[in-house]
């Protein structure tokens, strides 16, 4: 009897969870479906769910009319470049804080975190002005640097929490055996740290890819990534549901897939280790 009761409960819970899950996912699903419709089908009343003439023409048109590939390339360069650059700066810093902590290490970590909380709009004009003066407004390089800087605290924190989990005893043993600092890093730490570095990389590509304050305000025609490209669809004349959907699907698909792989790291990275 108790068993029947649990099964019944499981059925109810499963049904509820699936209905809610699908409802939350529906806007994404609808966008993907609409991207394969003709414009007429996209606004059909009543809406067509699965039975329409599937077509790929929207993807072709989006590329043809607006050179989608260029925005995609900008996004890849900006998100990838800022993450790699961030890692290069962050790995040594996080390493030293995790393994050679000083009296001030904790204060430095907290201070780094506090820079993340600076509202972007408060420093928008100075950054804008400096970029104009340096002639780098609307360049990919400038955005790589800006996004690297805004994500640097998260990268350092994430790496720090991962490095902290590497047992110090192993390092001490290596030192006893006469390993130099360089050998210690190359042969012992790096292999153990690779999973942590990989998840940090993943989460930061996601964050940089979706960043939509600096990318909207510091780019125009040349360096605009996908966030800015999609925003250009907000003008009424550019509005076609199927094409908007095709452009959106292409913009979110790679990150959606990456995101699914980094669920666990997301919690750690975005709560700065406060929830694990």
């Amino acid at each position: 009897m108790a068993r029947a009761h649990t099964t019944q409960r499981k059925v109810v819970m499963t049904t509820a969870a699936w209905i809610i899950g699908l409802a939350i996912f529906f806007p994404i699903l609808w966008t993907i479906l609409t991207s394969f419709k003709t414009e007429a089908d996209a606004i059909a009343n009543p809406p067509k769910f699965l039975f329409f003439d599937w077509t790929l023409e929207n993807y072709g048109i989006v590329q043809e009319r607006s050179n989608y590939a260029r925005y995609l390339w900008n996004s890849i360069v900006i998100a990838g470049g800022s993450t790699v650059l961030g890692l290069i700066v962050a790995i040594p810093a996080a390493w030293s804080m995790a393994f050679v902590p000083g009296r001030r290490t904790k204060d430095i970590l907290m201070w780094m975190l506090s820079t993340k909380m600076l509202p972007a709009v408060g420093v928008l004009y100075p950054i804008y002005l400096v970029m104009i003066k340096m002639g780098v407004l609307d360049t990919k390089g400038a955005l790589v640097v800006v996004l690297m800087l805004i994500n640097l605290p998260i990268i350092i924190w994430m790496l720090y929490t991962y490095f902290k989990e590497i047992p110090v005893e192993i390092l001490e043993a290596a030192r006893m055996d006469g390993a130099t600092l360089r050998e210690e890093i190359v042969y012992i730490l790096t292999p153990m740290a690779i999973p942590g570095i990989a998840s940090t990389l993943l989460l930061n590509i996601i964050l940089a890819w979706n960043e939509a304050f600096w990318t909207l305000n510091l780019t125009a025609a040349k360096a605009a990534p996908l966030t800015a490209f999609i925003a250009s669809y907000s003008s009424p004349e550019g509005l076609f549901y199927a094409k908007l959907s095709a452009a959106s699907t292409m913009a979110i698909a790679p990150i959606l897939i990456m995101g699914w792989f980094s669920q666990k790291q997301l919690v750690r990275g975005l709560t700065f280790g406060a929830v694990k």
Partner: protein
């Protein structure tokens, strides 16, 4: 000896990160602070120093400021209420033994990975449009007059859109926290005949309180600077102008840099007040 050596090496390894972040924080902040005491309107060629606190006075006493504070509070408060309450309920549901848990979790988390401009535009056009939107179809299906979301209830619409993006974040963190709950304690109370609601109130909720605080603080920091969602939907009109958006308009649209910078400094102070609370929690965890 070796420690001495590695200590100085450690300092050297930390230097680039510290210097970069220090520069990134200080230089623009000092510039903003400096601009905030100037009459600086580049479009008209006015660059005058120094006008004292008049920018601050003008910014604070303008009705736009008070409105923007109220809009910001409603927006952040509304999104927090929806995402935290929804997140707790969803986390509890996803923690139950259900079939296909992994897939449901993936479905629920997905919106967090959608870039803000995409989610705002998809919601605005394909869901909230009064003629062709899905919600309009749904309303008509039930024989109701379609609601023109973004012009009749713009603030609520933006709250909905942003909540959709942040609900996964709250759910994911609360789910992680719930899974660390000691199940023996729950089973014991169940044996003792405590009803589900009591168990939730006296065991689950207290256990979640820290995670909930973290969610609230982190979301507040991100939500205070919502930009893209407003930028592509209402452009700050129809009573959706938050403090962030107001400052953006003053600085970049009307190019009154002095006035906008004064607002920027106020926003920095405001964000810092919230940040202090978050840092305390994170800092405590660092000791443990």
């Amino acid at each position: 000896m070796a420690t001495q050596h590695s200590r100085s090496a450690a300092r050297l390894m930390m230097a680039p990160a510290v210097i970069l972040l220090l520069g990134w924080m200080l230089v623009p902040l000092v510039m903003t602070l400096y601009f905030s005491f100037m009459d600086y309107r580049p479009m008209r060629g006015i660059v005058e120093c120094c006008v004292g606190f008049s920018n601050y006075e003008r910014f604070i006493t303008s009705s736009a400021f008070l409105d923007s504070i109220i809009v910001t509070m409603i927006m952040v408060g509304g999104i927090l209420a929806i995402t935290v309450i929804g997140g707790v309920l969803l986390a509890i549901l996803l923690d139950q033994p259900i079939w296909g848990q992994g897939i449901v979790r993936i479905l629920v988390i997905a919106p967090f990975f959608v870039m803000p401009t995409v989610s705002a535009l998809v919601w605005k056009n394909m869901f909230m449009d009064p003629v062709n939107g899905i919600l309009a179809h749904l309303w008509r299906f039930f024989g109701a007059q379609p609601h023109d979301w973004l012009s009749q209830s713009p603030l609520f619409s933006i709250i909905l859109i942003v909540s959709w993006q942040w609900l996964p974040f709250a759910t994911l963190i609360l789910l992680t926290a719930i899974q660390s709950l000691d199940s023996e304690q729950l089973e014991a109370s169940e044996m003792d005949g405590a009803p589900a609601l009591m168990r939730f109130w006296y065991i689950v909720l207290p256990h979640l309180s820290r995670a909930i605080t973290v969610v609230i603080l982190i979301q507040t920091i991100f939500l205070l600077s919502i930009f893209a969602e407003i930028f592509v939907t209402t452009q700050g009109s129809f009573g959706t102008r938050t403090l962030t958006y107001l400052i953006y308009q003053r600085v970049l649209e009307s190019q009154n840099v002095g006035l906008g910078s004064a607002g920027g400094i106020l926003a920095v102070i405001l964000a810092n007040i919230i940040a202090i609370f978050l840092m305390r929690i994170v800092g405590k965890n660092l000791d443990a």
